[in-house]
């Protein structure tokens, strides 16, 4: 016997709708649904309904830093916040720069939350996140990585970053760059400006971000690159110049 859940009176895209969920799958979204015998009814009057979100930048900390977070707890948080999928960064210990780590993460996600939220691991762009050697991206893609990124240890060398972009493109991997020039960002604690000058805290120039974003966009043949942790309006003209197909921001 099938189970039926009716979500009544929900606000969806500006309209009031009833949503019929049969055996865990959405069957219909529309005005006033009939209520069959045995159906569970949830009155969502005054509540808005959204499709689940995707968080393209999370840290699940497993393997290696389970005292902070693990795949089980991170995915539980995702579900609680309405996220149906998350992309987990590679700064685990060991770093997610080999297929065996990717597979281990996916197996743990499947075991703890078999019905989702889904995990999309992000592989390291360079071995050990060190910015020196390309990570084995073919292997990472085959194991289930959806993207590559060095995240908080951005690839500072332009030549190496160019090769990361080109090589990732070969395997259809998204490149996510934490746009922050390491020399301008060194030892900084906040954005540079009137407040940093007044309170005496070393600030980071906006150019740390916009310059690296500009560099990334200048390279031809990029597949797609959400520019992570974007905080500056100064990067916007560069994102726009790259066109909607090529650059996004997270």
């Amino acid at each position: 016997m099938s189970s039926i859940l009716i979500i009544q009176n929900a606000q969806y895209l500006g309209e009031t709708v009833d949503i019929v969920v049969r055996d865990g799958k959405i069957e219909s979204v529309g005005p006033k649904a009939d209520i069959p015998d045995g159906a569970e009814v949830f009155d969502a009057a005054g509540l808005k309904v959204f499709p689940s979100f995707i968080d393209c930048h999370v840290h699940l900390r497993e393997p290696g830093f389970e005292y902070k977070e693990d795949i089980n707890s991170g995915l539980r948080c995702a579900a609680h916040g309405g996220f149906g999928a998350v992309m987990a960064m590679a700064n685990t210990r060991p770093v997610n720069d080999t297929a065996s780590i990717t597979r281990t993460m996916l197996a743990k996600a499947k075991a703890t939350w078999p019905h989702g939220p889904r995990l999309y691991p992000v592989g390291a762009a360079t071995v050990g996140l060190d910015g020196k050697e390309l990570a084995p991206m073919a292997e990472l893609a085959a194991a289930g990585c959806a993207a590559i990124s060095n995240d908080g240890k951005p690839v500072g060398g332009a030549e190496m970053f160019r090769r990361c972009m080109e090589y990732a493109h070969t395997y259809g991997l998204i490149v996510i760059d934490h746009c922050e020039d390491p020399t301008l960002a060194k030892d900084t604690h906040m954005n540079e400006g009137a407040t940093s000058g007044r309170i005496g805290v070393k600030g980071q120039s906006v150019v740390a971000e916009s310059m690296q974003a500009a560099r990334d966009i200048c390279f031809p043949n990029i597949s797609a690159f959400p520019c992570t942790l974007r905080t500056s309006a100064a990067s916007s003209p560069w994102s726009l110049s790259a066109g909607p197909k090529n650059a996004g921001c997270a």
Partner: protein, 318 residues
């Protein structure tokens, strides 16, 4: 101390001069005048703070500020306890919060804190019941230095600094002395100029209540006082300056510069000085130099600060 019975000090802590009204700053400096007189006596000790405890918590190296607070406390008969970085649990990895709570448990009346992090004094002030006096936090604030500088200038300029212009010369970017002085000198009516190479000026300085110069010859024209700042030698290694001799050539205050200032212009330095780097040696020792006056002022001003903060809950002074 009859004067003080009419004025209840409204602040639990002294975090920066920005919190003080002009009246409060002047009251503090007036109180310091009375203590300054005590410091001229043969017996330089009064029982005013007998039974009060003052903790000197210096997480960053300091000789003169710490000694100044120590002398100030002892001349008022307070018990002073020093806690330095090397002798404290900070070197054993204890958090600032835990160190502070431990100090609080000893029930001091005042904690004087010097710390390398901007905001450290405020962090303690928000968590502890006793008075917190900021003796310098990172690049942020050094209110007791600004007050002792004002006290030194007062002896020449009187209470109202209107019509006076003071130049702060040197590493403004990393200077808590400069930040606090800009605020207080403006409150007291002075016009303030700052002068440094662009690499040593903070972001947003053009919006400060100062006139900004990068050329010392222009900056010094007609000023009534010049406050030189110490140049930390590591700024050169950090790539902010080409070399120290070039800095000395372009930004060291010399007799030639003072000749362009107003007649009798005063010279100040918070110390310790790099003679020949930010201030010429003969200028440091000249008749217009307030460098040693500043040290003496420091004791009197800190006596006033300890007095006002340690007795504010006593319902008037004894």
């Amino acid at each position: 101390m009859q004067e003080n019975q009419r004025f209840t000090w409204p602040h639990k802590d002294l975090l920066d001069v920005s919190q003080l009204t002009v009246e409060e700053a002047n009251h503090l400096l007036d109180t310091a005048e009375q203590f300054h007189e005590i410091n001229q006596r043969p017996v330089k000790k009064v029982p005013t703070l007998k039974g009060k405890s003052v903790v000197l918590f210096f997480a960053e190296a300091s000789t003169r500020t710490k000694t100044s607070f120590d002398v100030a406390g002892k001349r008022l008969s307070a018990d002073t306890f020093a806690l330095t970085k090397s002798g404290s649990s900070l070197t054993k990895g204890e958090s600032l919060k835990d160190t502070a709570l431990t100090l609080q448990a000893m029930n001091p009346d005042v904690i004087v804190i010097r710390h390398w992090s901007s905001g450290a004094a405020q962090y303690l002030a928000e968590r502890l019941d006793c008075a917190i006096v900021n003796a310098g936090d990172g690049w942020h604030a050094h209110p007791t230095q600004a007050l002792l500088d004002a006290f030194s200038l007062r002896q020449h300029w009187g209470r109202d600094f209107s019509g006076k212009t003071l130049l702060i010369l040197g590493d403004i970017l990393h200077s808590r002395v400069a930040r606090s002085n800009v605020i207080l000198l403006n409150k007291l009516g002075a016009k303030v100029r700052v002068c440094a190479p662009r690499t040593l000026l903070p972001a947003g300085v053009n919006d400060w209540p100062v006139t900004v110069y990068t050329n010392l010859n222009e900056a010094v024209q007609g000023v009534d006082a010049v406050m030189c700042l110490r140049l930390q030698l590591e700024r050169q290694q950090a790539g902010l300056l080409p070399d120290l001799s070039e800095y000395a050539t372009t930004y060291c205050l010399t007799a030639r510069h003072l000749a362009m200032a107003a007649p009798g212009a005063l010279v100040m330095h918070p110390g310790p000085m790099n003679r020949g780097l930010e201030i010429a040696s003969d200028i440091a020792d000249c008749a217009e130099s307030l460098v040693l006056t500043q040290v003496a002022s420091g004791v009197a001003v800190r006596m006033a600060i300890l007095f006002l903060h340690a007795t504010r809950k006593d319902g008037g002074s004894k």
